[in-house]
């Protein structure tokens, strides 16, 4: 029975990683950049909801909406100010470093506004927990909602990318920016849209992360951000279903590592599994193999 409970805990934790990883992978897939500030956009989203719901006392739905709107705008602003000028830089690493700068900036702004004291986040969901086998197994409402939200997002994103014009433009940009431009696609607008979607996903992830694990500090996003990045790579970065599978697997491995090997070594185990997987599948579980030509 405890095995099942661990599995469920792993899926709970993994679903949060998966949700964050979706945003990561979305931005990476199109813009080909590791957005290290993604975790901090999550934190901004959570703080927005916290302010709207707990400080101002407005209904949760409004809080989530406010977070999505604010993060979308923030994502576009960051892209415009910090990333766009470097898009044609001679090394892709330049924009990676600016992303780190943005990450520091967001953390420190939040620290100045909200202080370092942890806030307790009230779950935006009012669904109860599911109890099975006389309460021996417990599935929290947050887990169920997070997984559903993940699935909805995956379906919507896939439909959007494959069926709409803007989505096709994104695919084209991700394949070849130059060629896409020649075909009349507005590359800048497409990448801005990618960041807008990625940041909106981050807002949702932030709200659900803090609903499931309700402490909120300016550094709340950074470690889940890194873990989700690992999850995205695990599943094959750029692949949307890969991010989901990677996230869930990562959560399960982390919890099983804690439960059956050593609670001190949970992260060591996660990273070790990641290394082993990448050695055998160098582009992650669902990543595309790229043929290199001379």
């Amino acid at each position: 029975m405890s095995f099942l409970q661990y599995l469920i805990s792993g899926i709970s934790l993994g679903s949060v990683y998966a949700l964050i990883a979706l945003g990561y992978t979305m931005v990476y897939g199109i813009a080909k950049m590791l957005n290290f500030a993604h975790g901090d956009v999550i934190m901004v989203g959570a703080f927005t909801t916290y302010t709207v719901c707990s400080t101002m006392g407005l209904p949760p739905l409004l809080g989530v909406l406010a977070a999505v709107v604010l993060c979308t705008l923030l994502g576009m602003l960051i892209e415009k100010v910090a990333y766009k000028p470097l898009r044609k830089a001679s090394s892709p690493l330049a924009v990676l470093i600016t992303a780190i700068g943005v990450s520091y900036l967001l953390q420190n702004v939040a620290l100045l506004i909200f202080g370092g004291n942890a806030k307790s986040f009230t779950s935006v969901l009012s669904v109860g927990s599911l109890k099975l086998f006389d309460g021996q197994l417990l599935i929290t409402g947050e887990t169920i909602v997070t997984i559903l939200v993940c699935l909805v997002i995956i379906v919507v994103l896939m439909l959007f990318i494959n069926k709409t014009k803007a989505g096709q433009a994104m695919l084209a940009v991700s394949e070849d920016k130059g060629a896409a431009q020649l075909m009349g696609i507005n590359v800048n607008a497409t990448i801005a849209l990618t960041f807008a979607i990625g940041s909106a996903l981050a807002a949702v992830a932030g709200v659900l992360l803090c609903s499931a694990y309700p402490t909120l500090t300016p550094y709340t996003g950074s470690m889940p951000g890194i873990k989700a990045f690992v999850a995205a790579v695990f599943g094959g970065i750029g692949s949307i279903p890969g991010a989901f599978i990677g996230g869930i697997l990562l959560g399960i491995i982390e919890i099983f590592g804690k439960a059956y090997i050593s609670s001190q070594m949970a992260d060591t185990i996660v990273f070790a599994v990641l290394i082993i997987v990448l050695l055998f599948k160098p582009t992650g579980l669902l990543g595309k193999n790229i043929q290199e030509k001379v």
Partner: protein, 400 residues
């Protein structure tokens, strides 16, 4: 392109050299950010104020501890100055950020030295504090850490502390649980990546050997995975633990309480001083903490006049409830004042002479502070005070 870079690097390099030289020339106070020197007015020339240098994390994940110490120390300094100072001399506080990093703490200490600090209040966290003790020992500067609880934070004879040391807390907790027969089966959940938590855990295990209860499960977590505690709680539950000992800080403890409640697991929770502050977590459902016991020398909502006055001043000034660290810092500043008065020290003394005077001064004072009545210090640097056990009932601490 290349020439451009070459030129740029030469320009930057020479700018750096100039900056360094500039830094050197006005080393006396140039780099010190003096915004915190409130209460001293403009009247004091160096020589008639005691300059207290504070070190602690103001940014980064540990910022909350440093900020509490800085704010509370400032309150104490303002109060003392308003009441006529120490020995008739004003106190001045300059608090520097160490980002909870040993190297940055030494930098902070050096910049305080440039400012002219005579006494060090800090560092707030253990590892940076140990790094600073080495430096204050070399300079023979008096150092009092409010909250550096690792044994080595009071390694040299010029180091003192306000809080309990880690082994003391672990042993005291084990003793309390054993003597009051709170439980037969005890589980421990601790943070193996912090010095504080792992230190208390080890001394708790040692202390438990001579007690009647049994530690049935000891599970760790690390700074990198401190959101999900379901496994640790499940293991404690499976082992049949009636009491879970939590030698950790309140942020993680609040998550553990929430997750335990969600899993319908309701053992007795027992914390140490790091748990204090749990009721102050903004928006926290305090009913979850109902029945939690903790050994702590300070409780923000204790009813005595001194605590109430301190808490209300703090809330009014900084809009936040102070925690354990704040109380330690407040007492720390008053201990410095008392030591100065006891030894008849003057700001004109050299750093080393002042340290010698205060070293003997502090061992002969008795301080009635927020964190205990009749606190004394011995030459080892540890405070003599009794931990109080409190229980959370109806959202407030009740003495047991």
């Amino acid at each position: 392109m290349k020439k451009m870079k070459k030129l740029l690097s030469v320009v930057v390099a020479s700018a750096m050299v100039l900056a360094m030289a500039g830094c050197g020339n006005n080393g006396d106070g140039g780099s010190a950010g003096n915004s915190s020197a409130a209460g001293t007015g403009g009247s004091s020339a160096s020589g008639d104020v005691f300059k207290i240098g504070g070190i602690g994390p103001l940014t980064g994940e540990a910022a909350i501890y440093g900020v509490n110490v800085r704010n509370a120390a400032q309150i104490a300094v303002d109060e003392i100055n308003a009441a006529g100072g120490a020995n008739g001399y004003m106190l001045e506080l300059n608090f520097q950020d160490d980002e909870h990093d040993a190297e940055k703490a030494v930098n902070a200490y050096n910049s305080l030295k440039d400012w002219g600090a005579q006494v060090i209040l800090g560092a707030v966290t253990s590892t940076p504090c140990i790094a600073v003790t080495e430096e204050t020992m070399k300079d023979n500067m008096f150092q009092l850490t409010p909250s550096g609880s690792a044994v080595d934070c009071a390694k040299y004879d010029n180091n003192f502390r306000v809080c309990f040391s880690d082994p003391d807390q672990g042993a005291a907790s084990a003793q309390y649980i054993g003597e009051h027969a709170l439980a037969q089966k005890v589980a421990v959940i601790y943070d193996s990546s912090t010095v504080y938590s792992s230190g208390i855990y080890e001394s708790f295990v040692k202390g438990a050997e001579s007690q009647s209860f049994e530690i049935v499960c000891a599970e760790a977590f690390t700074a990198d995975s401190k959101t999900d505690f379901s496994v640790q709680l499940q293991k404690a539950k499976d082992a049949g633990a009636e009491l879970v000992f939590l030698p950790i800080y309140y942020q993680e403890a609040s998550l553990i309480l929430q997750q335990a409640a969600a899993a319908d697991y309701a053992p007795l929770f027992f914390g140490v001083d790091g748990m204090d502050g749990i009721l102050g977590v903004a928006n926290f459902d305090t009913s979850l903490a109902e029945g939690v016991m903790l050994l702590t020398p300070f409780a923000a909502d204790a009813q005595d006049e001194m605590t109430q006055k301190f808490v209300s001043t703090y809330v009014e000034k900084f809009g936040d409830t102070p925690n354990q660290f704040a109380a330690d810092a407040y007492d720390g500043v008053y201990a410095i004042k008392a030591a100065i008065e006891q030894s008849g020290a003057t700001p004109g003394m050299s750093v080393s002479d002042l340290c010698e005077a205060m070293k003997t001064g502090i061992t002969s004072i008795t301080l009635d502070g927020l964190t205990g009545a009749g606190i004394t210090w011995d030459a080892s640097g540890n405070p003599g005070k009794a931990p109080k056990a409190v229980k959370i009932e109806g959202g407030v601490y009740v003495a047991m």
